[in-house]
């Protein structure tokens, strides 16, 4: 590690300097002279957020296993650091070697949140790398992006040379090999991109011409130079055999998820109609409990963490959950290591399990009914009933729990005031359940209700719906706040301003490139942070670019419309999404994949073509 000389003067003056130094336990250092391909794994948000991302750690492990390849990490600095670096003329550097980002061959961003798109620009700019793909003419660097936001890569199409669609473990390695060949043989950037477009799961935006109707809708996107009509996402077939970062970096400074994380399965058997993750990660692929127990224990031993968390979209749907928890607890309990189980569903909640799990340290309970009435829960296909929720709460309260968090969404398609008020009713019923079931009323109860705003997400049955207007969302929030009937219930909500921008970015097309670049000039990076999110600047950036955010956010798209992400194929057919949309409009629910296969199409991604839900 060779830190930039000016860093010594900067670091003592910025907040939490340990975020910028690297050198953690588990960091991988290689010899530059023996490295053929230098890979910068970038995360367009802070160190604390990025280091909490399991996907990033998986890729770091996979890439560094490749001989001749050195993968290093780069995060977006906090504003004080950005300013200090600019003032001192220090470019953005990688944590491992301390070398400037501009020295790298492949610059790959992992993007999991639309609000961090601007972070990509912030980081490229701080590294002195031209922002737009067309302004980077050499083979080095190739700038690309992967992660869950790349199911619609179009909003950042101007900036990236390519996008990786789906799970990156294999594609990133193939891309790196291709780059190695290109470097050895002295290819041009163009030649490399055309060849990369031949890798399944690689989307090269510059190889698609977009034409528009006069009203602004996309007419079509036409591939050139042999690029595929649609780019199909990649998945890992066998998670048990896939690389898992048992020996991963353990930050010395505090991060958001400062614990060992175990991924039980990918995908989700449920089909909540608003949920992008529930669709794009299909089909469900589970790891065996044995594999997980082994990897969990090894990870804990290596890390020295005192907490392990089971992460998945819906943990309680894991078939072998009992066996897994038993196996882990046998090791964890005597060592005072606690096990946490986020994302439980109210309809298959087991107190027995929770009590075993929480013996070491007890945390709060969280449920996500998402909507206040059964009618609306049916519309969104959240197959949880009021009775399920109240039963789960009753069990928990009588078992000694005294706090519960409830998550809802406002502005869901077809929502009426009755549905909104239903949230307050449900929260009050939970309160009443507590009164009759708690063994100890004097301790009190904390019921926390929080609402987010519905955001239409690509690749879901709700992708065609508009978002409620800002005024309407604020009205609903106020109405709900006034309807809360007990001091024990607290209510918090997401700002509709952020959700509005997020929606525009989620369903946007490549014309948003102008907006992002202009917004960056006006307001800088870190837009996912309240401190730096600048709503007025966003509106101005849209205006100055001649675009109306309402065109994206407030418009109902027709089922026939060509959508910006129609060039991407996540395995689920459009016919299935349309079917689900119609069912939602009729208030009809659909069974989950375990009960009955609905023929969504994702099974075609599996060798053998059969889902094991």
């Amino acid at each position: 590690m060779q830190m930039h000389p000016a860093m010594e003067a900067i670091l003592p003056k910025v907040q939490k300097p340990a975020r910028y130094t690297g050198g953690e336990f588990g960091e991988i250092l290689k010899n530059k002279e023996e490295t053929e391909v230098r890979f910068a794994l970038c995360f367009p948000d802070t160190y604390e957020i990025g280091m909490s991302n399991l996907g990033l750690r998986i890729l770091y492990g996979v890439l560094n296993k490749m001989p001749g390849v050195w993968c290093e990490r780069v995060f977006e600095p906090w504003r004080d650091m950005t300013e200090a670096m600019r003032a001192a003329g220090v470019p953005l550097c990688a944590l491992e070697s301390g070398d400037p980002l501009g020295d790298f061959d492949l610059i790959g961003f992992s993007v999991g949140y639309e609000m961090s798109f601007v972070g990509i620009l912030d980081m490229l700019s701080l590294a002195g790398i031209p922002l737009r793909s067309r302004d980077r003419t050499e083979l080095r660097p190739i700038v690309f992006a992967g992660g869950s936001c790349m199911y619609n890569p179009e909003p950042i199409a101007d900036f990236i040379d390519l996008a990786v669609i789906g799970e990156g473990e294999e594609v990133d390695a193939e891309l790196t090999e291709l780059y190695r060949k290109a470097k050895r043989e002295g290819w041009t950037k163009q030649r490399f991109l055309r060849a990369a477009a031949g890798i399944e799961g690689v989307y090269v935006p510059s190889l698609y011409d977009v034409s528009y109707f006069p009203d602004g809708r996309i007419e079509k996107m036409t591939p050139r130079d042999g690029a595929p009509e649609r780019v199909r996402k990649r998945i890992i077939q066998d998670l048990d055999g896939a690389s898992f970062p048992v020996h991963t970096i353990i930050p010395s400074t505090e991060i958001v998820h400062d614990r060992t994380m175990l991924e039980l399965f990918r995908g989700c058997i449920r089909g909540c109609r608003f949920c992008q993750a529930g669709y794009v990660y299909r089909p469900v692929r589970a790891k065996k409990a044995d594999t997980l127990i082994r990897q969990g224990i090894e990870s804990l031993k290596y890390a020295g963490y005192e907490e392990i968390s089971l992460t998945s979209l819906s943990t309680s749907d894991y078939k072998e959950l009992g066996a897994l928890c038993d196996g882990l607890l046998d090791w964890c309990e005597p060592r005072s290591v606690s096990l946490s189980l986020p994302s439980l569903r109210a309809d298959n909640f087991s107190l027995d399990l929770m009590q075993r799990v929480q013996k070491v340290r007890r945390s709060g309970l969280t449920f996500a009914p998402e909507a206040g009435t059964q009618r609306l829960r049916d519309v969104i296909n959240k197959n949880v009933t009021e009775e399920d929720l109240l039963n789960a709460c009753r069990t928990a309260f009588s078992g000694g729990w005294s706090s519960v968090k409830l998550y809802f969404m406002l502005g869901l398609p077809t929502e009426t005031d009755e549905d909104v008020l239903g949230i307050a009713d449900l929260a009050y019923k939970v309160y009443q359940v507590w009164r009759v079931s708690t063994p100890n009323r004097s301790r009190g109860v904390r019921i926390t209700v929080s609402t987010s705003c519905f955001i239409p997400k690509p690749m879901t049955p709700f992708q065609w719906f508009p978002q409620d207007s800002r005024e309407e969302l604020i009205r609903k929030q106020k109405m709900l706040k006034e309807a809360m009937r007990s001091k024990a219930i607290s209510y918090s909500w997401h700002e509709p301003d952020v959700s509005y921008v997020e929606a525009a970015l989620a369903v946007g097309d490549r014309r948003l490139g102008k907006v992002l670049e202009h917004l960056y000039e006006l307001a800088g990076g870190l837009q996912a942070w309240e401190e730096y999110f600048d709503y007025e600047a966003w509106l101005q950036a849209f205006r100055d670019s001649g675009l109306d955010p309402d065109f994206y956010v407030r418009r109902s798209r027709s089922e026939e419309e060509f959508l910006p992400w129609d060039v991407i194929d996540d395995g689920v057919t459009k016919a299935h999404l349309i079917r689900e949309k119609h069912l939602s409009e009729e208030g009809q629910v659909s069974p989950d994949c375990r009960k009955q296969c609905l023929g969504c199409g994702a099974n075609r991604l599996l060798k053998g073509g059969k889902c094991d839900a």
Binding site: P17, E27, T253, K301, G304
Partner: protein
């Protein structure tokens, strides 16, 4: 096993770890190394360990002390720990503490400047008969004359050696930086390395 005292160095990139970061790092390194630490009783048990005289962010040291209540561990704890500590933190020795931490009265420092003239200027400032700096106290910001609490030992080239009072009042490298600010023609970087802890009669404290 009784209370043990680990002496460690904190250098290079590790200089930017905060006191809490170092505590957290050791807590995990002990687990990795198979060293069991006694925990406090109560609702939120935490390992019984403490670090004497927290170092300021950006300073290096070769004389940090961590006292921990060890239950058991491998034969060679120093080696076991050094295998699992992050870059820049190195355990130098372990042993039973002979005297309590409160007997530390002075700390010895090496201060490095970019060149000889700046070191000479700093030498001049630190030799002034009166050196008031703003210091945070329990009662808020106060002005303190630190001159009586620092001793300039020597200057060799661009390096100064100094003694700083460790206790009532505690003078740290930040106070020296503050003392230089405004008294020098321009701001200059100063690398601070804590070399030694000492008792009132200037014996080495370990």
């Amino acid at each position: 096993m009784p209370e043990l005292r680990f002496r460690f160095a904190k250098r290079g990139r590790a200089a930017y770890l905060s006191h809490l970061d170092v505590m957290r790092t050791f807590q995990r390194a002990f687990i990795r190394a198979g060293i069991r630490i006694r925990h406090s009783e109560g609702f939120n048990p935490h390992p019984k360990m403490s670090i004497a005289l927290p170092l300021q962010l950006g300073c290096e040291s070769v004389c940090e002390l961590l006292d921990a209540s060890v239950i058991d561990g491998p034969e060679d704890m120093v080696a076991a720990l050094n295998l699992v500590l992050p870059e820049g933190i190195e355990v130098l020795a372990v042993g039973e503490p002979h005297r309590p931490v409160r007997e530390i009265a002075w700390t010895e420092w090496s201060l490095r400047f970019p060149d000889v003239p700046s070191a000479q200027e700093a030498e001049r400032v630190f030799s002034l008969p009166e050196l008031s700096v703003e210091k945070k106290t329990k009662r808020g910001l106060a002005t303190l004359d630190i001159a009586p609490h620092i001793r300039l030992l020597s200057r060799e080239g661009e390096e100064l050696r100094m003694l700083l009072r460790a206790d009532s009042p505690t003078i740290n490298a930040g106070d020296l930086k503050k003392a230089l600010t405004g008294r020098l023609t321009e701001e200059m970087p100063m690398r601070c390395l804590r070399l030694r802890l000492m008792t009132e009669n200037k014996e080495s404290f370990q």
